[in-house]
Symmetry: C2
Subunit: 168 residues, 2 copies
């Protein structure tokens, strides 16, 4: 396969994967484009490469910065802004884990905590089932939280080394 075709295929696949995981397709595609680009790109270049509008490009780039996945770069003597992505896949994973933990897991833990204070009749099967399910989910979520916490601090080799060794 030629590089040009491969790039398109990569961008398409990354966009599809993103959308299956609740990430806007365009955002995933812009990230993919920057991931495989050795140079920082301008808004114009991104618009052109993905056939998207200026407004869309601007908002998407802002979101990606908000996720900590890309950065602005200023080139000396240039007026335009350039964007580039961290190419370290482990950093990317940690960044995504960190954001989703903050945006999604933590709010859920908060709700589960509130729900565990529910009051009712201990003899009522509906009450017992509710409490059991909430409590089990809470335990699982706390384990996931702790594991992510560790991942955020870990080096890639150490992390996978430990995890895969345990599972051999």
């Amino acid at each position: 396969m030629e590089l040009a075709a491969a790039k398109l295929k990569f961008i398409e696949a990354w966009g599809k994967l993103g959308s299956e995981w609740g990430i806007n397709r365009t955002m995933a595609q812009v990230h993919a484009l920057l991931l495989i680009s050795p140079e920082a790109l301008t808004t114009e270049e991104i618009m052109e490469a993905l056939s998207i509008s200026r407004g869309n490009a601007n908002m998407t780039l802002r979101d990606l910065i908000g996720w900590g996945l890309i950065e602005k770069q200023h080139k000396a003597g240039e007026r335009k802004e350039y964007f580039f992505a961290d190419k370290d896949v482990w950093n990317i994973s940690r960044q995504v884990a960190k954001e989703r933990k903050k945006r999604e897991l933590e709010p859920v833990l908060k709700v589960l905590n509130e729900l565990s204070t529910v009051t009712g009749d201990e003899k009522d099967p509906a009450f017992k089932t509710f409490k059991k399910s909430v409590s089990d989910i809470n335990k699982l979520a706390l384990n996931v939280d702790k594991t992510l916490e560790t991942m955020l601090k870990a080096e890639e080799n150490w992390f996978w080394g430990s995890v895969l060794k345990v599972f051999k």
Copy 2:
């Protein structure tokens, strides 16, 4: 908090979490409803509890069965079909992991494999960056795949025991 309010809050939170992770909100809500219900429910009861149409309920229940998260139950002497959810949170996690691995991770691994056969000029930075990114992502995806594979075979206590012990 009262049980009735807590149930609603749980269903709402589960629906929201689902939609943030690429799972249809209604599907997550129906699953939540069955998770906290000690008895199997009929389509009618589910429609009523969540204010959804018969068509929606039927399709959603079919999808949930397809994900292996709920089952049909036939009650002796009854014409209606009843639905109930496995309440074991570890089984649920494994089932979701199994399905997403099959539906999403495996197709991505296939594409990454194809993309690693890309041909081009080894001196070209664009080519080198592309190959490096694809190769790094491929390695990560393979590690995730192996870890999920282990999880699918594991017992909950063993799994979290091992993972959390490593990270202490």
